[in-house]
Symmetry: C2
Subunit: 370 residues, 2 copies
């Protein structure tokens, strides 16, 4: 299915938000949506998807007249796919907010179609609902979650953060190509350095999947593949795009988050013990570091490869995370990432890179043994 | 091959150290070895493996009479397996320090046999050399690197940190069993909580390899399996042993190290900008946190499952890291970890857990469909 989007996109956008998903749902999500109203351009709409009475009561309490406000639509969904539910429940709980929201992201929704579907709920359920109801872009084999990580040297994109724990080399290769497009279009990087996560930087290391992915990335014209990156490089600014499987990507991001949290706790505890007076002096410094590296500000990771924008927000999203995610997701659509992904993957499909790599491998195997 | 070790071990130990391996080799390694002489018990010996002239000159400079000191032996090895070399070079560079050191760890070395073989060099080469020359313990399918991580809630053991990037479920299962033994014998934890790293805590998540590993760990009597752990749990003290594949384990550890480093840099930069006077006030606090969580003090990760003690030290080991690694590795041997691993795996082999799990799976598949 071709998107035929103009790039960049300038028409008004419809943004569906799953009000029921997330650790602090529905309150934090509703509050974030209300704050996001101020960021909308003329004609843009927020579509609140979830339990109607909860949504209506909350909007009334905030003094918002949802009946007349042209920026607001409400779509009732009685059920909730809980955080611990199996993903396949999106087929069973047909009146859940995740199911309804992603159906709104489908071309079948016609005039009701939303350009963005945002949820801070069950990630696996969102991935399944997006794949089922919204479908994939042309040429895409599997979608992958692309997280923009606010590292200290500047943002980088990690793909995949957990959609696909057991990818094939071709999936990882496409992740690299898609995130390269996103880094160009959204982060404005001219020739993004694309690295492949591995156990070490030497060519001989890693699994067969990693080595085959390396060969595909290396053989891709117009892609600035810089080789393997290790965990220690991740926060050192050596790459703009880091490709890895969903298990490694997910673990890395969550461990880094846990590590930072623990470290700040340890610092606070040490300061208290050493000199409680220092705690108050140190506080503004911590706040500034948080502000610069805050995932709440970089909220909303697109599931790249989906026909539309399925945006996954952190489970522990607060109101400001949701507001930022709505802003970032609209920017993602406006920068025309999807049409460029289709163009690029189509161009590469014509070159048949996997076949080229296979033939090159056979030739070198037939070559003279030294 | 059975070790027939007494447990715990009280006889004098012979410790072979690869003098040429590591980012700061040979100087830091030599300095660490010299410092470690003070920690030896009567009869213990340090065997310096590497370029003879370099070792002899360095010991002389430090005023150590290696010719008469009964604690010191020198084994000449002219070659070096470099950090970037393919692991298989341990077969080609037969006069390399890694090859010679691990040959000293073999039972074939007879009276020359070393109880510990320690290297801060090429990890993959050490894994290959240990497997080739020292061999596996009875019942062990694949060895795995067990790193003791000095987390803020107390130490925990991560296995595997990079020996086996593409393990089978049975390998991961044995990693859990072996690290459980190590947590009991070395960390003194009575019933270690054993977790399996996954993308989420829900049972339905993860790859087939992870799910099969879970079934094996669950079915293991006497093992306190607590379920899946996520990256965010890692530094939160929820488990004493965390089992994962070598790619995830390696990436997690290196990323956490990189993250901590970047964070301290960011704190220093913010302090400088905000109030340079605070930098000096904050310095002792940082030093105390470093001291408590310092991997240099927890240096030396055993390659569990090897017949003997192959101890892998951090590539960036300093002298104090090496000294600590020597101390920790002697403790590892003295606590009789290997004989307990063989006993435990033998006991479990008699129960044929993989077959039990397979049968239980078939029965439940045949069960009534609800």
């Amino acid at each position: 299915m071709s998107t035929n989007q103009q790039s960049p996109v300038s028409s008004p956008l419809r943004v569906a938000v799953d009000i029921m998903g997330g650790d602090h749902a529905p309150d934090a999500i509703l509050k974030g949506c209300v704050a996001a109203l101020a960021d909308l351009r003329p004609g843009d709409k927020l579509v609140f998807v979830g339990r109607g009475p909860v949504i209506r009561e909350s909007l009334e309490e905030r003094g918002i007249d949802y009946r007349t406000d042209p920026r607001i639509e409400i779509v009732d969904a009685e059920q909730v796919v809980e955080m611990g539910d199996p993903a396949k429940l999106v087929r069973v709980k047909t009146d859940s907010s995740i199911t309804r929201a992603h159906q709104l992201g489908s071309r079948r929704a016609a005039a009701q179609r939303c350009d963005v579907v945002l949820s801070a709920g069950n990630t696996a359920a969102c991935v399944m609902a997006a794949t089922l109801f919204m479908g994939r872009l042309d040429h895409v084999m599997r979608p992958g979650i692309a997280v923009t990580v606010p590292a200290f040297h500047g943002p980088l994109i990690l793909i995949d953060a957990g959609a696909n724990p057991d990818p094939k080399p071709e999936h990882l290769w496409q992740y690299g190509v898609m995130a390269d497009v996103m880094a160009r279009q959204v982060l404005g990087i001219k020739s993004p350095r694309v690295g492949l996560m591995n156990i070490g930087s030497e060519e001989a290391k890693g699994t067969d999947v990693i080595k085959q992915t390396r060969d595909l990335l290396k053989a891709t014209p117009g892609l600035n593949y810089i080789g393997y990156v290790e965990g220690r490089d991740f926060f050192e600014g050596v790459a703009d795009v880091v490709v890895t499987d969903g298990l490694v990507g997910n673990t890395l991001l969550k461990a880094a988050e846990g590590m930072a949290k623990s470290l700040f706790k340890a610092i606070a505890a040490e300061l208290m013990e050493y000199d409680p007076g220092l705690v108050t002096q140190f506080e503004p410094v911590v706040k500034r570091i948080y502000a610069k590296n805050d995932y709440h500000e970089h909220g909303g990771a697109p599931l790249l490869g989906i026909d539309g924008a399925c945006i996954i927000a952190h489970g522990s999203s607060e109101a400001r995370t949701i507001r930022a995610a709505i802003r970032n997701s609209m920017n993602f659509v406006r920068m025309g990432v999807n049409s460029e992904i289709e163009r690029r993957l189509g161009e590469l499909e014509a070159l048949n890179i996997p076949e080229q790599v296979r033939l090159a491998g056979e030739q070198s195997a037939e070559g003279v043994q030294v």
